[in-house]
Symmetry: C2
Subunit: 248 residues, 2 copies
DNA sequence: TAGTGGTCTAGACCACCGG
DNA sequence: CGGTGGTCTAGACCACTAG
């Protein structure tokens, strides 16, 4: 591993990048390229350090950062693993809708429609697509404890998910599916929440009177490299549940 | 600093607590007790290490954790400071309402009422108060760029904020006020967001038709030791703004 | 130039897991 | 038992700030 510190003079350090970040970038690439798949045990700190010619402490710092970003999970005595999008992780990192009384649970899903179509203007803008690019659209209703609370609309870049909705079935845990079937690791995202009057169709699906207030949650999910890979609009009734956010 | 490692046998480590966490607890106590106030420069890593008889690396690990929790800010070449609740921090950590187009800005506030009253059942439950305890209630309207978008109701334990709303004026940046006038450091909180039909009074304040959908954001803010110190209900119209949450 | 935090190294020992 | 991550130490040097 070559560091800029071998060239200490003259530059006044314009593009200084610490060694542990270079290590991290390299490890990120191995995950993004599928060399290390979700769930896999990666080499030990000592092995990585020896391979790259850096100290164990430097590797540790890189792994610590990736762990804090939920990309890795470490287990003392066992090793370091690439994080999977299991239900526990989804619940903790991505699913913010919690029943009024009780703890968060993973919702059931009922698929309504899938569709492959040319992306409209809004989809192109949100997903950063080119004119003519196609999207896969998915519509479903999600329930907590048997009661429908969510009407959800997703748009995905068709190029990244070939065959999705055709020969490849839509599972409940989509991010696990993205990872296992398409090699796409969702690493984060942003949600914008608004209050709107429920459109008639969604109100009916959720058993609400027409025009009842619901949450409209727009999420753009991104892959490891920051590319948008999913846009979803979640309409959620909040009589029996709430959108929960921790301020940390 | 005494560590459990001086007693390695027999216990099989039931209450093992790493040295750096003991250091952290001690430093947290100094902030909570007001020995180090927000904005203050704390001693250097070397000084703390020497004082406590641990290595600099151990102190560093404690400080790193506290920095990641936004309790400290570190500036290379200057030192380590206790974090203040300045507008930049509020905006980043606590204020999730962002204008539709444009970047987050700190809202203006117009105070409507203050009141000192016996806590009702809901306030006692949320703020963990005893029967008979009193609360300070604050009502205000907040605007973004001159346009009212938020109607807000706060309840605070009166015991923790003596004189608030009487001789002590209500500033716009409340958490800065809690800290500077009452020695209370808000370290985090949780928000529960629902969609409701705006009550008539709030609709009028926000210039909305009666019954328009608005966000109802219930926040419980906690001090360093986890004690609830504020309950606020924020009603927010989302025609021109949205509640934004990062999934990390 | 002195002092701070930031990086990097090397090595020791502890806690935990599996075979 | 050996191997893993977790903690702790000691020391070197770099990057940055202030006076």
């Amino acid at each position: 591993m070559t560091a800029e510190r071998v060239m200490p003079a003259e530059t006044a350090n314009p593009g200084f990048r610490p060694l542990y970040r270079q290590v991290k970038d390299l490890l990120l690439k191995r995950i993004g390229d599928g060399i290390w798949s979700p769930g896999a045990l990666i080499p030990s700190e000592q092995q990585i350090a020896a391979e790259l010619g850096v100290s164990q402490g430097t590797v540790r710092k890189a792994l610590d950062e990736m762990t804090s970003e939920r990309l890795l999970t470490r287990r003392q005595g066992r090793g370091t693993f690439v994080a999977r999008h299991d239900e526990a992780r989804i619940l903790f990192q991505f699913f913010k809708i919690v029943p009024e009384s009780g703890v968060a649970i993973f919702p059931e899903s009922e698929l309504r429609r899938t569709e492959n179509a040319r992306a409209d203007e809004e989809e192109r803008s949100v997903l950063k697509l080119a004119p003519g690019d196609r999207v896969v659209r998915i519509t479903r209703v999600r329930s907590l404890g048997g009661k429908p609370v969510i009407s959800e609309y997703l748009s995905l870049p068709a190029r990244l998910f070939p065959g999705l909705g055709e020969d490849i079935p839509i599972e409940n845990n989509l991010y696990e599916l993205y990872s296992s079937r398409f090699g796409i690791t969702v690493s984060g995202g942003q949600e914008r929440v608004k209050a709107i009057a429920a459109p008639p169709e969604d109100a009916q699906l959720l058993g609400l009177p027409p025009g009842a207030p619901v949450l409209a949650i727009d999420r753009v999910a991104v892959a490891l490299d920051g590319t948008p890979v999913e846009w979803r609009r979640t309409l959620c009734q909040t009589a029996d549940c709430a959108y929960v956010s921790d301020l940390r």
